[in-house]
C-alpha cells in the first residue's frame, strides 16, 4: 500500500469529495470505495453558526475516517496557492497539501514553473507537498529537488475521463523514479484506466468526477476499488512482455497427425 511522507495508507484509491448528488451518496461512495484519502478544498464562507456549509461539510468528511488531503484547486498564481495552502493547513489540521497551480484556463494544465516555485516555498514552511503535475520528466526532477516526496502526474485533463493520455511518459516516470510514490491524478473515467495505471506500477490513483458523476456513484466507487486492487496485484505478478508475433500457447509437440 502507498506510503506518503511516512504514513501508510490502507488503499491505493484516493477519492475526491466534490460533485456528488448528496452528502449521503458521498458517504456511501467512500464506504464502498475503501478509499484511504479524501481530497477537500477551502472556499469562501458567508454564513455563520452550525448551519454554515463549511462546518457541516467538515463534520461529514471527518466522519469518513480517512486521511484528508486539502487542495489548492483553482489557484493560478504562486501567491494564491501558498496562501490557500496556509489557510487549508489551519482549517484541516494537516500539513498535507495537494498543490495545484493552474497554468492554462481551458485544459487546466499545471503551470510547471509556478508549481516548482510554490512547492519550494511550501516545503520550506513544513508542508508535505503532493504536486498535481504533468508527466514531464524534467519538471518531476525539479519537484523532487524542491522537496516533494510524492509526484501526482495527470492521466488526462481534469474531468475529461480520457484515461492515460501518455503511456510512454507515465511508464518513463515510473522507471526513472522507482522509489518515489507516484499517483495518477485526474483524467480517469473508467475503472479499466485505473487498473492500467496500477499495472504500470503506480502507487495509487486519485479521481473524483468518474465516481461522483456516474449514474450510481457508490457502485462505481466499488468498481474502481476492484480495478485498483486487480491492477496492483497484476503489477506484483510481473506481467509477461508483449510481442508482435503469435506464439502458440498449447504445446505443438504431441499433436495428433491428422490431414
Amino acid at each position: 500500500m502507498p506510503v506518503f511522507y511516512g504514513t501508510e495508507i490502507a488503499s491505493a484509491l484516493m477519492l475526491g469529495t466534490a460533485q456528488y448528488p448528496s452528502p449521503t451518496v458521498l458517504a456511501e461512495a467512500f464506504r464502498r470505495s475503501g478509499a484511504g484519502v479524501a481530497t477537500v478544498s477551502v472556499r469562501r464562507e458567508a454564513g455563520s453558526g452550525d448551519t454554515a456549509q463549511g462546518q457541516q461539510f467538515r463534520a461529514l468528511v471527518e466522519a469518513l475516517g480517512v486521511a484528508l488531503l486539502p487542495n489548492t484547486a483553482g489557484c493560478h498564481s504562486v501567491r494564491e496557492a501558498v496562501t490557500t495552502a496556509q489557510m487549508a493547513r489551519e482549517l484541516f489540521g494537516t500539513n498535507w497539501i495537494k498543490l495545484e497551480v493552474i497554468g492554462h484556463a481551458d485544459t487546466l494544465q499545471p503551470d510547471p514553473f509556478g508549481l516548482v516555485e510554490a512547492a519550494r516555498l511550501l516545503t520550506d514552511e513544513g508542508f508535505a507537498v503532493f504536486p498535481y503535475c504533468t508527466e514531464d520528466l524534467v519538471l518531476c526532477e525539479r519537484l523532487l529537488e524542491a522537496g516533494c516526496e510524492v509526484l501526482m502526474p495527470w492521466g488526462a485533463p481534469i474531468g475529461t475521463g480520457l484515461g492515460l493520455n501518455n503511456l510512454y511518459g507515465l511508464r518513463s516516470l515510473r522507471a526513472q523514479f522507482p522509489e518515489v510514490p507516484l499517483v495518477v491524478d485526474a483524467g480517469l473515467g473508467l475503472p479499466s484506466q485505473a487498473a492500467q495505471a496500477m499495472e504500470l506500477g503506480y502507487d495509487a490513483v486519485l479521481l473524483n468526477t468518474a465516481v461522483a458523476k456516474a449514474g450510481d456513484p457508490a457502485a462505481m466507487a466499488e468498481a474502481f476499488a476492484g480495478a485498483v486492487a486487480a491492477g496492483a496485484l497484476a503489477h506484483r505478478a510481473d506481467p509477461m512482455p508483449p510481442r508482435d508475433m503469435a506464439e502458440p500457447s498449447t504445446p505443438v509437440l504431441g499433436k495428433a497427425f491428422l490431414t
Binding site: 475526491g16 478544498s41 461539510f57 467538515r58 489557510m87
Partner: protein, 65 residues
Amino acid sequence: MTITLNGEPRETAARTLAELLDETGQAGAKVATAVNEGFVPAARRAETVLSPGDRVEIVAPRQGG
C-alpha cells in the same frame, strides 16, 4: 469604513480582523482568514488592524477533487 469581504464591498465598524469575525458571527466558527492576499493565522487576528480598502477573505472547508 469600507472593506472588501469575500469579494463584496462591506461597511464595517471593526477595527481588527477579530472584531470583523465577531461582526459576521464567525468568531467561534472553524474558518481561516487572509488579508490582502496574505494568510493571517487565527492567533494573529486580534492584532491584525484593518484599514479602508483592505481585502479580507474568510474561508471554510468545502468539497474538493
